[in-house]
């Protein structure tokens, strides 16, 4: 299947962005870039059980839930847009990879889903270079036959939006707030997320959590994992909202700045070669050392390769050098809301008891529960 290199899209054509996987890290960039190239952007609807089912039908069984959800989002888009944006995200920072499945994703989607509209494919690879987004963005522009000048302008527009998005995330805004602030035009707020959640992503001022509400301190949970697991309530069954309802403030791994991640990562004997893994491990180490949290919840997709290794390292480190509870919460398309709620209740109950009795015996409560 030889790919025509050039793809003719008129100004104002609608490009579909699947709301899945690295969308949750790069949406403002994609939007800035594509709009800068004269296109209109349509984001697929929120992840729903029906959408996941559609994805599951086309993806292979062994694929993880976020990949299946990605398929579902492409299914939603395919009849409604002029082109689908399917970048190949090999690497976002030097010396790292995203994940093998993301390396193969454009091919998997094109092979497994039939009757797709034209797709916009471009490699984003920062393994050996620093400028992955710039060069990838310019090659998108080149494929679409736009001029270099327009390309450069679109890229810088995307980067600007991304910077402001990251800044808002680090300051503790929810994904929706940060995304709509950085990329105006976000017209489809997720159900149940219209109002910013109080307690969601407690701001970290200078590394310390800013004082929250008056009254007794609420429990603070370190929520770590891939952005697409933390921020997609359709995938994590509204985990964030449930925890807040149970009386927890949340600090997430997405609140760490890139510099903080680099510093923590460089201190390891061998740096993790997955960018998400670096961030998760850095967040766990930093939250633990600064005593920012009462316990950790690591949201893991069933069968996630990077997290099976990174989570193990993080959990063992946590148990060895503190007595903070660490729960690996494994989710897949079969996870039931009732079971999830029970586990969260049990976990937060335990945290509350531990706080009431601070001299809890060392390590006796380290949770090692999965599914």
């Amino acid at each position: 299947m030889a790919m025509a290199w050039q793809l003719r899209l008129k100004d104002g054509a609608v490009v579909g962005l699947p709301r899945a996987l690295l969308f949750y890290e790069l949406y403002p960039f994609w939007r800035g870039l594509l709009e800068g190239l004269g296109l209109r952007v349509a984001v697929s609807t929120a992840t729903s059980p029906k959408l996941i089912e559609a994805g599951t039908r086309h993806a292979m069984d062994e694929a993880c839930l976020p990949v299946k959800s990605f398929y579902g989002h492409v299914v939603v888009l395919r009849d409604r847009v002029d082109a689908v944006f399917l970048p190949r995200l090999v690497s976002l920072s030097p010396g790292t990879y995203t994940c093998p499945k993301m390396l193969g994703l454009p091919d998997m989607v094109r092979q497994n889903l039939r009757s797709l509209p034209p797709v916009i494919v471009a490699d984003f690879d920062a393994r050996l270079r620093r400028r992955s987004l710039e060069e990838g963005g310019e090659s998108v522009a080149c494929r679409l036959g736009r001029s270099r000048g327009q390309a450069r302008e679109a890229v810088s527009r995307g980067l600007e939006a991304l910077r402001s998005f990251r800044g808002s995330l680090e300051a503790g805004q929810s994904f929706e707030e940060a995304a709509s602030g950085a990329a105006p035009g976000w017209k489809t707020p997720l159900e149940g997320w219209k109002t910013p959640l109080e307690g969601w992503q407690t701001p970290l001022a200078g590394g310390d959590p800013a004082p929250t509400r008056p009254g007794p301190r609420r429990l603070r949970v370190g929520l770590v994992g891939h952005a697409y697991n933390l921020f997609d309530p359709g995938v994590n069954l509204g985990l964030g909202r449930k925890l807040v309802a149970l009386g927890c403030d949340l600090v997430t791994s997405e609140q760490l700045s890139e510099e903080e991640v680099q510093t923590e990562s460089a201190a390891l004997p061998k740096e993790i070669f997955w960018s998400s893994g670096r961030r998760i491990l850095a967040a766990v180490t930093r939250f633990r050392r600064r005593e920012l949290v009462d316990g950790f919840i690591h949201v893991v997709s069933f069968g996630c390769g990077p997290d099976s290794m990174v989570g193990e390292i993080a959990e063992r480190e946590t148990r060895r050098s503190s007595n903070l509870p660490y729960m690996a919460l494994t989710i897949d398309e079969h996870t039931a809301e009732g079971g999830l709620l029970t586990r969260l209740e049990a976990f937060t109950d335990m945290l509350a008891r531990r706080r009431a009795r601070p001299e809890a015996p060392e390590g006796s409560v380290a949770a090692e529960v999965t599914t």
Binding site: A59, M60, E62, L103, G104, G303, M309, V310
Partner: protein
């Protein structure tokens, strides 16, 4: 220093030779078995892939026998094998073992770092001495792969089930004891002849008569997938033996020496290897346009090359949750449909039951046999 290392098929023969030649005392872990697997499964991360669990079992077995250091390969991703050593070190540490982990990271462009590690292992022997040890190990590795190839030819046509495998075992044992390059070459020549003779084959390569009781004689199946699962019979439930005993000739693109070539030796030193790699890449291109770590791209490319060689089918084997092979397995059915080539993907782990696997293999081979019978039908399906 007593050192050990993980098992992968018959690789222990080579690693033992190499390390002993460097003056180390070597403890070979017990061959993977039910018990070592249980130990591995109990202590390894639940969602780690299968080879890691077997590694842990190997290490615990060897450390209990008094090993003090572990030699392990590293990697630069994105396949999680590259982080095996770190996770394994933590697991062993938490189990109370105090073992040094010597990690041989793949050199990036030059061999200095790797050689330095090996030299340190050997207690600072001169480089020429180290080089000689490596040459010797390599010699044995090439011979071992010759044995394996001879076995895949012999097994489908042997008269007495198991006779070729027995000859192979004898030859491998003699290879393990061979104490010099010349002895190795001699053992190599004799071994290959004997394995073939056990099945009534001559070295010239004239195919033997298919024996009775082997219903699927002369079917040819390509075996692709993740290297450890392909090379370690305990992990793949002796896939090659099962197929061979049904009379199927199993073709493998990847042997152990290929793994060493890809993982430890920079490509610039191997023009032939580069040619092969680009051929595989070109073949895979219509389905997969990018490297995805591990052997994912190779699985797709080799499948297509096997089709060109006229194979009857391809079996694709990988550990459960293997990321690169999930990518491959998503694409292989489409490739199979386009080419009219049956492809069977098997994801295996400690829960794989023998009866279930046998049933699937038999059904697949049956299908291939019937397709042959209806007149070499290779039409699209």
């Amino acid at each position: 220093m007593r050192v050990t290392f993980p098992h992968m098929g018959n690789l222990w023969i080579i690693v033992k030779t190499l390390l002993e030649d460097l003056g180390l005392e070597v403890i070979v872990p017990p061959l993977p078995n039910r018990r070592s697997l249980d130990v591995g499964v109990r202590h390894a991360p639940e969602f780690a892939c299968f080879p890691l669990k077997l590694n842990i079992g190997d290490f615990v077995g060897a450390l209990d026998q008094g090993a003090e250091a572990i030699v392990m390969a590293g990697g630069i991703g994105p396949c999680r094998f590259g982080h095996y050593a770190q996770v394994e070190a933590q697991v062993l540490h938490d189990l109370g073992y105090d073992a040094e982990m010597v990690i041989l990271e793949p050199p990036r462009g030059h061999l200095d770092g790797l050689l330095a590690k090996i030299r340190r292992l050997s207690g600072g022997k001169p480089l020429t001495r180290v080089w000689r040890a490596i040459r010797f190990g390599w010699e044995k590795l090439v011979v071992l792969d010759d044995f394996d190839r001879a076995l895949t030819r012999a097994r489908p046509v042997e008269r007495l089930t198991g006779s070729a495998a027995r000859a192979h075992r004898v030859a491998a044992a003699r290879l393990a004891d061979a104490d010099g390059v010349w002895a190795t070459r001699r053992v190599g020549g004799e071994g290959v002849r004997e394995i073939l003779r056990a099945a009534g084959l001559e070295e010239s390569g004239r195919p033997g008569e298919p024996s009775r009781g082997k219903p699927f004689a002369r079917l040819r199946v390509g075996l692709v997938g993740e290297l450890f699962m392909v090379a370690e019979p305990f992990a793949n439930q002796e896939l090659e033996r099962r197929l061979g005993e049904m009379g199927v000739e199993v073709l493998r693109p990847l042997y152990l020496s290929d793994w060493v070539r890809t993982h430890l030796i920079p490509r610039v030193f191997q023009p032939g290897r580069r040619r092969r790699a680009s051929e595989v890449k070109r073949a895979a291109r219509p389905y997969l346009g990018h490297f995805v770590g591990g052997e994912g791209l190779d699985s797709v490319g080799e499948t297509i090359l096997f089709d060109r060689q006229g194979c009857d089918g391809v079996i694709h084997v990988a550990p459960f949750t293997c990321m690169p092979e999930i990518v491959a397995a998503s694409l292989l059915p489409e490739a199979g449909r386009d080419l009219g080539l049956p492809v069977l993907s098997l994801f295996l782990d400690e829960h794989t039951a023998e009866a279930g696997l046998t049933t699937r293999l038999e059904a697949f081979v049956d299908l291939l046999g019937r397709r042959r019978a209806v007149g070499g039908a290779r039409e699209k399906w």
